[in-house]
Symmetry: C2
DNA sequence: CGTCTATTTGAAGAGTGTCAACTCCTGTGG
DNA sequence: CCACAGGAGTTGACACTCTTCAAATAGACG
């Protein structure tokens, strides 16, 4: 599941084994329950193994804004390092399987395995890129653009971890949750989806999303074909990292 | 100027000196010019020394969305590590002074100075927190809430680097730029600002922002008093980092 | 003093929100 | 096996925020 990291940097077999080796006892969280709540003081980092989750915040008047979705392979909360308290909550959307990693393990890992450190770092930057993209969507796109954008994003991300088969993704999101992520009302999301179905752009029923016309959708969403793929991720930095005189306990694989 | 980092982790005198020591030749960029453009392949990291800048993207129809502002002390583009090409542009809003740092220097620094590494890491996480906060604002707040939120954010950030004096900040932003950041039209931003002035919440004229009633503004913005202050940033991780058997070339100050 | 940009004002229109009702599906307990 | 409850999806009418367009004013700079 942490095969996602291989997308970010070339990992040696030893790196892979090290990755598979870590990870404490798994944990299960039922759908619609918080994994961590705002105000919590998290003590571990976890990796989402299966299921779907989201980060969100609740406003004073009870409305909710989902800031991002977590799909299998995603890492939750390097935040330990910054905040004593969480400034937002993370909830399971479906039932969810987690792998815990104590942070000393993470620190050791990043020190001993420069390529893993780099992959983690890049994955964090990708998250940031996604957040920026969402800001653009919420700020400047109308309802159709937002829906198209979000579905494309989720589609690509699932594709990157091998969860797409023939334009189909399992997406157990309610229209309510889509609305909370897009800054719209469920009613309006519904109308947009129906419009998309009528024009044969996609179908989204029974928790199954099928993109019939990805090209046209991406036009509506104004997404560049590969905005997440990091296509030619520069490896200058990577190679420098490896050349670097490793006074500092290098390792051989 | 890189005193901002001291907010994130306790730095030793040696750390400080190391920070001041780096930084290549300064660079100047005129107002309304790009510092780096979308599609560029950045070769250096830079720190904003003076002036105001923003990250933005242009949509197909020419509209612009500003995703974040950069104020003195902010670091631009650890992105080198991830993308070959920039997925967005950075523009100078006012005339701007930059300090360049080649990335080998950055890598060396982060390896040799764990506390600096931690500070950088936290500063990146703070950026992420700001992005999330902006998503909430764009998704779920009305125009008044958004304006109030953005002005509070900028106010607090300037305060953190010592650029606030008696509720006053120099903010050379046009209403057009505010609108591009908030996902609104300049016309509407104008109306909201006038409303705020009429109700004695703030004044914003001649590039000078004065918050007359910060408390009430924060209510409208729904911002927690200290959302950026990272009040009790946990230092468990920090102390672990220092204890860690530094096979790896520790340094003494 | 004239030009350019930024700000201000008004009126009309579009896109979403709100509210409320109704349907469909799924799972549950009698 | 059926009735029922509850959540999710669907539909329509109407209200409202924000946008759009256009034009006037004010300020900054050469």
């Amino acid at each position: 599941l942490t095969r996602k990291l291989a997308n970010f940097a070339p990992l040696s077999d030893g790196d892979m084994r090290a990755l598979d080796g870590i990870g404490g006892p798994g944990q299960h969280v039922d759908a619609h329950h918080d994994i961590v709540s705002e105000g919590d003081i998290p003590h571990a980092i976890f990796v989402l193994q299966a299921g779907l989750a989201c980060r969100y915040r609740i406003l004073n008047d009870g409305r909710r804004q989902i800031t991002s979705f977590l799909i299998p392979g995603d890492i939750c909360d390097l935040h330990v390092f910054l905040f004593r308290k969480m400034d937002h909550s993370i909830a399971a959307i479906t039932a969810v399987e987690l792998a815990n990693i104590a942070w000393p393990e993470v620190i050791d890992l990043t020190f001993d395995r420069p390529r893993i450190a780099m992959a983690l770092w890049r994955s964090a930057l990708q998250e940031e890129a996604i957040l920026r993209e969402r800001i653009v969507a919420l700020g400047r796109r109308d309802a159709r653009g937002r829906v198209a954008y979000l579905l494309c994003e989720l589609f690509w991300r699932h594709k990157l971890v091998g969860l797409v088969e023939d334009q189909c993704v399992t997406l157990p999101l309610t229209q309510n949750e889509l609305a909370d992520a897009l800054g719209l009302t469920p009613v309006h999301v519904n109308r947009v989806l129906q419009d998309f179905r009528r024009t044969k752009l996609l179908s989204l029923e029974q928790r199954l999303l099928v993109l019939h016309d990805l090209g046209r959708l991406q036009l509506i969403a104004e997404i560049k074909e590969d905005y997440l793929l990091l296509g030619g991720a520069s490896d200058i930095a990577g190679s420098y990292l490896e050349q670097r005189p490793l006074l500092r306990g290098s390792q051989s694989d």
